[in-house]
Assembly symmetry: C2
Amino acid sequence: MKKTLLVYMLLIAAFALYVFKYEQTGPLNGTWEEKGLRGSIGETYIMITFQSGLEYWKSTLKGFEDAGDALGVTVEYRGATRYDAQEQTTVIEQAIARNPAGIAISAIDPHSLVPAINKAVDAGIPVVLFDSEAPGSRAYSFLGTDNYKAGKIAADKMAELLGREGEVAVLTLPGQQNHEERTRGFRDTIERQYPAMKVVEVADGHADTLVSRNESIRLLKAHPKLAGIFATDATGGTGVGEAVLSQKSSHPPKIIAFDTNKATLDLIRGGTISATIAQGTWSMGYWSLQYLFHLHHHLTIPAPSPSDDNAPLPVRVDTGISVVTRKNVDDYYAK
Amino acid sequence: MKKTLLVYMLLIAAFALYVFKYEQTGPLNGTWEEKGLRGSIGETYIMITFQSGLEYWKSTLKGFEDAGDALGVTVEYRGATRYDAQEQTTVIEQAIARNPAGIAISAIDPHSLVPAINKAVDAGIPVVLFDSEAPGSRAYSFLGTDNYKAGKIAADKMAELLGREGEVAVLTLPGQQNHEERTRGFRDTIERQYPAMKVVEVADGHADTLVSRNESIRLLKAHPKLAGIFATDATGGTGVGEAVLSQKSSHPPKIIAFDTNKATLDLIRGGTISATIAQGTWSMGYWSLQYLFHLHHHLTIPAPSPSDDNAPLPVRVDTGISVVTRKNVDDYYAK
């Protein structure tokens, strides 16, 4: 009986020791050194966009979610359903009211959301911007594409496809800053670096597949020697692709598109579109959440402060682009 | 006796369950989701600079170490002792031979290290660059200061200090790209935004405190109404400070310096220097290690690939600057 009691006591002691050790080193206690970078499931980070239905946001949200999984925190997605600044402001106000651990926002335009963003920062809620910025705001960082450079890389790819010679055209959205930059980067590069190439026309695709298709047919008729078309937006690329397919030419022009929606990827797989420019959308989402996490936990030096003179995080991040061709297209379908 | 045995069995069962649960969720097992972001102590990441004695690297190394602690990996620092490209190349070659998990490099100049950097990437070792880049290389990312913007912010601060009027001068290192950019950002901003201010001279401080001191005394004599001096390098700022102290003027010019070495911070604390521009050095080191960690563990989408057409990481990161004044100077002394 005494022996049993001894075993009994020893067992309780071992159990207590184990519990103690577990509490010391377990994933929800201790310093970062002991547990790795890890938050708590009660910490909620919110990603907010406009036009929540767009296929374009999927990969960014995947990056945001992947970082949430890696860091053990909760993420949510909220979007204005339409392309409407007032609606997006309301979505941000609703998010602020819930006092989340951080908010990542893609701004519908450079100005409308500034008051709502600053209100969140004033309330002590970390905010970063991705994809589309709001330069006057007090968000801590912006993560997005360098569109001029994207246009430049499209021009280099086009030159490679055409053996550095021939007439090319651009199908874009005149007046929209991102697209103007892409067009300018493309044009400047052709003019400066490829003397045997020429941009013969810049057309307006109205961000609409049918308009883009009709404009492409017009371009092909107006410029019989047209050897390549660069479409700066996702809908434009599929429009050009459809136009070229309908023409059944023996020498179809080379097409470079933008973004990686399914229709574009299918046309690359089929050989109609030669390449598309994939933005670093996963990176935008992933590093947005990492940044918010670091602000929320005050892990940065200098620490976040309401002062404008202080940069606890990288202030501007060029998330880069990748060139998608038939060779690597399978990697870009949504998983 | 039977009762005791039952308690005994229950206790063993509870213990076994606890051990099982611990092994499932413990910090060194399981997926990222279960353990947070955490590597292993056997993973070694190396930071390499030129002129290893410079006070300037301390904060970057601190960031690199802090990220290493947070992610549970080992970090090392190696530097060429002198300002010598051949020596830095040798240091990189020695690092490659040890097959580390990643290397972060500050390049002595834009060209010399490109072959060594590419050799590391070809060997499957992730490389990122910080502070000074090597644009032709295949390093995955560059993290550093936007120097033009830093000059612009210095100009805005100078305008604030001088009530938007008066003569100012710049003490810089003509011919060195970083410093040319800072000077250009400062000059452009004064010219475009502050019509009652004027940059009366741009002088050469030779990156030497004594030369900077003598040049400052000359500037003060040549321009009796000089109201402010912007020194674009760390040694220049202390030189200007010493010159102004030696002159014992009743209206000393306002001084804006660059970087946060101890001599500069002491002069801010004492009131001789009004402000200095702190670079995001901690961020450069911290996010360099985070990036290398993500490459090493293939955590990015797209995955790292030897192709130039693929950007698994943000390709260019503006780590931002902070304006240091008497108000916040204590935060910037090395800890």
